[in-house]
Symmetry: C2
Subunit: 218 residues, 2 copies
């Protein structure tokens, strides 16, 4: 790979830059948050260290990734350039497209709760009816994500320590089902733990409110 398609076509030229194996997954990790080399290795199970180094160099010369110096000390942090960050749209489009593939469940695949940051962003965009601002935590495994809704839109990220109006705990596949609209909170009684302001959680995952006849837990 790394060989150019040699076609004057937007898709072909885009793939010349990000079409090589692992490249878009590196972008995924950096869309979740800037990261150090070691964190990238951990967030990309299966990648070979030399490949990661090669890809980071290629993406840097292409203008997608940049190396920064960490605030504390001399550590290197990789982050997306502004143009690289614009890959959020195509990446989230692919995540939406993959819904039928995710419905099979995890199988034996690796899983990292951080990946849900992008999936939630992709699946909930434009769907959450935010009548009021709130910040909801999503706890999966031992990771905590946060979902902020405002009148102007929503934003998903890793938890940054701020106060949460509510916390939901559930398996990844449940969270994905809720976000994709395949499941409702009422469908998943007993599989989802809610602490705090349940109404805030419903605003995110179940805007139309409880179903006629559905019971509300807790």
């Amino acid at each position: 790979m790394s060989r150019s398609y040699g076609q004057y076509c937007g898709l072909a030229r885009a793939l010349d830059v990000v079409g090589d194996r692992w490249n878009l997954l590196i972008v995924r990790q950096l869309l979740i948050a800037p990261a150090r080399y070691r964190e990238l290795i951990e967030g990309l199970p299966g990648v070979a260290t030399n490949l990661l180094a090669d890809r980071l160099r290629e993406l840097e010369t292409a203008g997608v990734v940049e190396r920064r110096l960490a605030e504390e000390g001399n550590a290197i942090v990789y982050a997306l350039t502004p143009w690289g960050a614009e890959l959020r749209e195509p990446v989230e489009s692919l995540i939406r497209w993959s819904t039928p593939l995710m419905a099979r469940g995890p199988g034996g695949d690796h899983f990292c709760a951080d990946w849900l940051v992008l999936a939630l962003s992709a699946l909930l965009a434009g769907k959450t009816a935010a009548r009021r601002s709130s910040t909801v935590g999503i706890a999966v495994d031992d990771r905590l994500l946060q979902l902020r809704t405002t009148r102007s839109g929503m934003d998903v990220s890793l938890h940054d320590g701020r106060e949460l109006d509510a916390v939901v705990r559930a398996d990844a596949s449940i969270v994905l089902g809720l976000a994709a609209g395949v499941l409702t909170l009422d469908d998943t009684l007993g599989l989802v733990d809610i602490e705090g302001d349940e109404a805030a959680v419903r605003t995110v995952f179940n805007p139309q409110g409880p179903r006629p006849g559905g019971s509300v837990r807790r």
Copy 2:
């Protein structure tokens, strides 16, 4: 390649299906129009014949592509399944992202005017102010595309023989510049040929009308 990432992540699973080299370009060709094997070879300069056969089989078993029998006779025609056609969104997102890469111009790359069907669709979506319905032809090299605008949106395809309100002729890079909003019709005096209803063309490429002080040709 063709090796799975083994990650329970929408992006990784999407790339397991369409991330292999050539796969998304095959999808591109089929988004433009269903095609026969020979047409795919011609629209994918550089692909090896065995690779194309392999990829088509993989995409078929994955449920992205299907083989159909041509109306006349026993020829095989490849087309996208409904799920495969939903790749239009991620593909057009990547095309929008690639705008800086296309601004360099064609260089020595292959070019096929059909590819503009997707680029125009990606770049003009939501931008054309269609006060009235019209059908405009775009002539590049010896190919003719058509662009239909209605109040409900727009649609780009290969010309299907219907009557055209106007025909624009220009180089690919000019057409792309116009579609991306980097160029206006007034910028490109002498580089764009317009026959027929010029107002219909402006509705597509230059909704805000001629610039203050800009002159109108013909």
